[in-house]
């Protein structure tokens, strides 16, 4: 059964009517009800919760979409007490969902972390918030303090502040930072080998995923499945920006058509394309706006859910310009460890900027495709792969513009200001030029 009507979607972001304020502990309990966890390790309770999460079909909301129950099962099996890391880094500039969640409903995330920690036997939880997200960290700190005063949890909660760069939220980079204070992704040949901080096996979960866990622990798997689709159950947070009248973070039931989400945000009637997933995601053809917002259907049309980013590109903008800006930003956000990424991404960005300016040489288009093929899959992490996917989708969707730009006739929109958010770093060159 699928329910995609909007009335069912106010779960994570539900509020007493009208109030847009941060929930303190009392307010949180008033909205969602109390959650009591066993006072000591209780195997049957843990098994029950694990079963509920498994039956709920909850998929991670941090971009990989991995079934959460499977991750928990693996973390429980180690000999040492594991560590739970809450990933609220949100390195994608166009995403605001984790910040919003932690700024307004931190207790939902902390409840979920408490539940997950109890099930996997972790005695410590570290919430990682980017070092340039002061208010978010303050909200989490305050929530932890409230819970400590109320004697809420046996576990130790702390906040860590890794540097707010694009790749530092990548799972292995985050673990590397906790170990060595350097947020560099590591090569993972065998993904089934657990990541460790010190000697403790470590489970990393996106903040939003844990907020769903907090609700599943209260209401059960069947309740969770009342929204969404069979393969992709529940609700999810998406950040809608770009050519929309009401940009922001919305909670939607998975399976909602992309068009409905855009309409609700007040998008322009005509769009050149929609950026889906993130800067390492893909462009969605406006002809496919009826696609249900869920991993499978989106993949079928060459798009991706990613971290819930949806950016509407107006017809007055140039898809090539935006892609070139994104490629330049992503090149500057490389961790600098692997040659194909360090050299390949700037080279692709160079070519895209030439195309944008209408100064393409005869070999430019085949060169972009060749470099994309060369760079793909040859880094230690998926950073270059994301750029390749985005660039390929741009070449396909904006094919007419590509031809015009390549012939030296850039489209009128090429001088339009960007609708993409970029943190201001010295690496940005060519943005807006």
């Amino acid at each position: 059964m699928t329910c995609t009507t909007m009335e069912l979607t106010e779960r994570l972001l539900s509020r007493p009517s009208g109030a847009v304020a941060r929930s303190d502990l009392a307010g949180h309990v008033a909205i969602h009800g109390a959650l009591s966890l066993p006072k000591r390790d209780d195997r049957s309770w843990s098994d029950g919760v694990l079963r509920a999460v498994a039956e709920s079909g909850l998929l991670g909301r941090g971009g990989a979409g991995f079934p959460s129950a499977i991750k928990w099962d693996a973390a429980r099996r180690g000999a040492r007490r594991p560590l739970l890391v809450v990933n609220a880094m949100e390195g994608e500039p166009a995403s605001a969902k984790d910040r919003v969640l932690l700024s307004y409903s931190p207790h939902l995330v902390l409840d979920g972390a408490d539940v997950a920690a109890a099930v996997i036997g972790a005695s410590e939880v570290v919430i990682c918030v980017a070092d340039d997200s002061g208010p978010t960290a303050a909200s989490v700190d305050a929530a932890i303090a409230e819970r400590t005063r109320a004697g809420r949890s046996r576990r130790r909660f702390s906040v860590a502040r890794p540097p707010g760069r694009y790749v530092s939220g990548e799972e292995s980079a985050l673990i590397a930072w906790l170990n060595t204070r350097q947020a560099l992704p590591t090569l993972r040949i065998d993904k089934s080998v657990a990541l460790t901080v010190g000697r403790r096996p470590t489970l990393v979960h996106n903040a939003e995923t844990l907020s769903h866990v907090a609700l599943i622990a209260r209401h059960g798997a069947a309740w969770f499945r009342q929204a969404g689709t069979f393969e992709a159950p529940g609700t999810t947070l998406v950040t809608v920006t770009g050519a929309v009248r009401s940009p922001g973070v919305v909670e939607i039931a998975l399976g909602t058509p992309v068009a409905d989400i855009l309409v609700r945000a007040g998008a322009d009637a005509q769009l050149s394309g929609v950026l889906m997933g993130g800067y390492g995601g893909a462009w969605l053809d406006p002809a496919h706006l009826a696609t249900p917002y869920a991993p499978g259907p989106l993949a079928d049309v060459g798009a991706t859910q990613g971290v819930g980013i949806i950016v509407a590109l107006p017809t007055s903008s140039c898809g090539i310009a935006e892609t070139a800006r994104i490629a330049r930003y992503m090149a500057g956000e490389s961790a600098g460890q692997c040659g194909p990424c360090v050299f390949g991404l700037p080279a692709i960005a160079d070519d895209l900027e030439l195309l944008w300016a209408g100064r393409a040489d005869a070999d430019l288009l085949p060169r972009i495709h060749h470099r994309a093929d060369t760079v793909e899959g040859r880094g230690a992490c998926r950073h270059p792969d994301g750029v390749v996917r985005l660039v390929r989708s741009a070449m396909a969707l904006f094919a007419d513009d590509v031809r015009a730009h390549a012939a030296g006739r850039p489209c009128p929109g090429h001088a339009a200001p960007s609708v993409m958010p970029f943190p201001a770093t010295p690496a940005i060159r060519g943005s807006g030029s």
């Binding site: 605001a96 600098g336 360090v342 080279a347 940005i428 060519g430």
Partner: protein, 239 residues
């Protein structure tokens, strides 16, 4: 004059010394070329590296004979300890001592290379840099010990070795500079790019001055706080 056993040892010592100096110089040149990534179709890099290793082994063999004959020979008293302990020789302590220093350094490099698979890359590389010290010390020992010094052919050998090593170094330094300039032009990369022929310098990513886990650290004046826009976004979102 009859070639006594003592003078055989004496001449062997001098000969093996000169040969190991030449081989050490060749090792240095090959090592510099290898590190500087000099290669061509007919002169592949792996072969250079291989030759460097083999020539260094040969140099060590001749060096061993040189030390052995120097110690055994009674014409001058050098003593076993001064084979490893510098400046402990009764005979010309300074110049012999320099030779001992060179031997110590080369031993360290050789042992670390033999154990290369077992030690960390950084340790190995650090010890290997000692090689740059061993060559001038060995050259000073050869010239200062005076046995064959200021003979034309010896000067010629020394000049050849020196110009080869210095030339290779000059090539490396100039090439290194050019490679760095090229890397700086590659795209808008904010961190040091692994330059070919150079040890990769660690990226700036993650190297924030703040090493505590929880204190808010400024990540740079150019990064704006992102909170206010998020707040605005949510408020705009409500009906």
């Amino acid at each position: 004059m009859l070639a006594s056993s003592s003078s055989v040892l004496w001449y062997t010592m001098r000969a093996t010394g000169i040969v190991s100096l030449v081989l050490l110089s060749a090792t240095m040149v090959l090592g510099i070329l290898t590190a500087g990534r000099a290669k061509s179709r007919s002169w592949p890099a792996f072969a250079q590296a291989d030759l460097h290793k083999r020539v260094s082994l040969l140099a060590m063999v001749f060096l061993a004979f040189h030390v052995l004959t120097a110690v055994i020979d009674t014409y001058v008293s050098v003593g076993w300890t001064s084979a490893i302990v510098p400046f402990a020789s009764p005979y010309r302590p300074l110049w012999t001592g320099l030779g001992t220093v060179a031997v110590d350094l080369m031993l360290a490099v050789a042992v670390s290379s033999a154990l290369r698979q077992r030690i960390s890359a950084r340790t190995w590389r650090g010890i290997h840099w000692l090689a740059y010290g061993s060559w001038p010390v060995a050259m000073a020992h050869s010239l200062g010990i005076g046995t064959d010094a200021s003979k034309l052919w010896m000067d010629g050998i020394a000049a050849l070795c020196t110009s080869a090593v210095v030339g290779a170094l000059a090539w490396r330094i100039v090439g290194h500079k050019r490679a760095r300039e090229r890397a700086a032009q590659v795209g808008a990369i904010t961190r040091a790019v692994p330059v070919r022929g150079d040890a990769p310098t660690a990226p700036a990513l993650g190297r924030r001055p703040d090493r505590s886990g929880s204190a808010p650290s400024p990540s740079g004046a150019t990064r704006p706080q992102r909170e206010p826009s998020a707040t605005r976004l949510l408020e705009k979102d409500r009906p």
